[in-house]
Symmetry: C2
DNA sequence: CGTGCACTTGACAGCTGTCAATGCCGGTGG
DNA sequence: CCACCGGCATTGACAGCTGTCAAGTGCACG
């Protein structure tokens, strides 16, 4: 399915909310974030995209792009046309179903994010977010340990959990004081995973990627 | 695809988070809500389900049900097996793609909900939620006007936007005082749609259900 | 060495949660 | 028909979390 490549630098926008027909991309390298801008000008970050993520799927359902996507680091994208997506459904029912399943995974992640943002205290949201990012980083690099590079600024994190930078920083100082984590400019270390998990209060999610209801791969795939 | 029927009364649970293999349902009649429970016991309502909604899709990606679903009114469900979902992908690429598209619509709705919950003040979240529900009700009954039945209690609404009942009620009194809306036990009337829309601060969403990339219906559909 | 950006901190006002009590309404049993 | 009851809505007082404004610090980069 992979079409042309796009390369962007940190801070450049992959797409803007309101743009006519939104593009569809596979993130090959780098980090990105999608966001939504309020009429007031405030922004809410919706999701962090890591390599392997499909970008732009929700906007397929809309006549205008529903979210903006900004590159958080240098980024490499593979452009995917809508037509090739349609062909995927025609020719590869199994792959189409797996893509559908991946969308459901993202919905689960979005549900968890929504719930943790709804939590009243910032420390709970922050714990949940950092564990979420850590899990995602570990999924692509299982032996990364408890310390990882995280290109988001404190402003970004604040926008992700819907609080102000000032308050995020205060909350962060508090958690550092409790020895829960360490955080230098672009590096985060999870020190007390259990305590953070208790703070977050969210259930663990076990993905199920080999569901028995998926069409078998031999059906109409390739050719 | 429709299999057997299930009927539930208000307050009964369609499924519980953590249950082994989650079921898949089409909501035929009534309202339902899916929720997530924190370790602390607090609950966050994630989404309101109206007739026509598919229930249980996100949990397809998990080994245990990701959310609980409770009936808010008397409810009629059509049970859908996972196998018939798999067959849909094999036999009806167009319908499968449309189901995929519906999932993306729900992701957009979830994104908007997430953003509005992230908004700092409760009045913004509440305005956004009520407009969202009103839009959804109008979508199934276009000439319903500005007044509609809404079976949610104030506790439910509070759990949807992540605040306490007490504060929701205070916010509500304030909005009533401003003449923005009327709200008796189970009936809501939108009085100043423009003002509410400005409060919500979210962009309008125009769905795109006849995308040109969808497989044509003649392909392999029904024989 | 100067500049700019991100991070940090303090003071204060305002929004929100908690606790508690009261009122309202529909349904139930006598 | 009436008294009672339980669920839901409403209100007040108070503490605590969060936003805003403003200033200061430290580090990377030219």
């Amino acid at each position: 399915m992979g079409g042309g490549r796009r390369y962007l630098k940190r801070g450049e926008f992959i797409c803007n909310e309101g743009d006519a027909p939104a593009g569809l991309y596979l993130l090959l390298d780098g980090w990105a974030a999608s966001s939504l801008t309020f009429a007031s000008g405030a922004r809410q970050l919706l999701k962090i995209h890591l390599p392997g993520d499909m970008i732009g799927m929700p906007s397929l359902a809309l006549q205008q792009a529903g979210d903006s996507v900004v590159a958080l680091t240098q980024v490499e994208l593979s452009v995917i046309s809508r037509q090739s997506l349609g062909q995927l459904f025609e020719r590869s029912p199994r792959l189409a179903a797996i893509l559908f399943l991946i969308s459901q995974e993202e919905r689960v992640a979005g549900m968890d994010r929504l719930a943790s943002i709804g939590a009243t205290e910032a420390v709970h949201s922050l714990a949940a977010l950092l564990l979420h990012i850590h899990d995602r980083v570990r999924r692509s690099d299982p032996d990364i340990g408890d310390s990882f590079d995280m290109p988001l600024s404190q402003d970004d994190i604040a926008d992700l959990i819907g609080i102000t930078t000032v308050h995020l920083n205060r909350t962060l100082q508090h958690m550092r004081g409790d020895g829960l984590l360490a955080w230098t400019r672009h590096r985060v270390t999870i020190l007390k995973r259990g305590a953070l998990h208790d703070l977050a209060g969210l259930p663990a999610r076990i993905l199920d990627r080999d569901a028995d209801w998926l069409p078998r791969s031999s059906d109409r795939r390739e050719r």
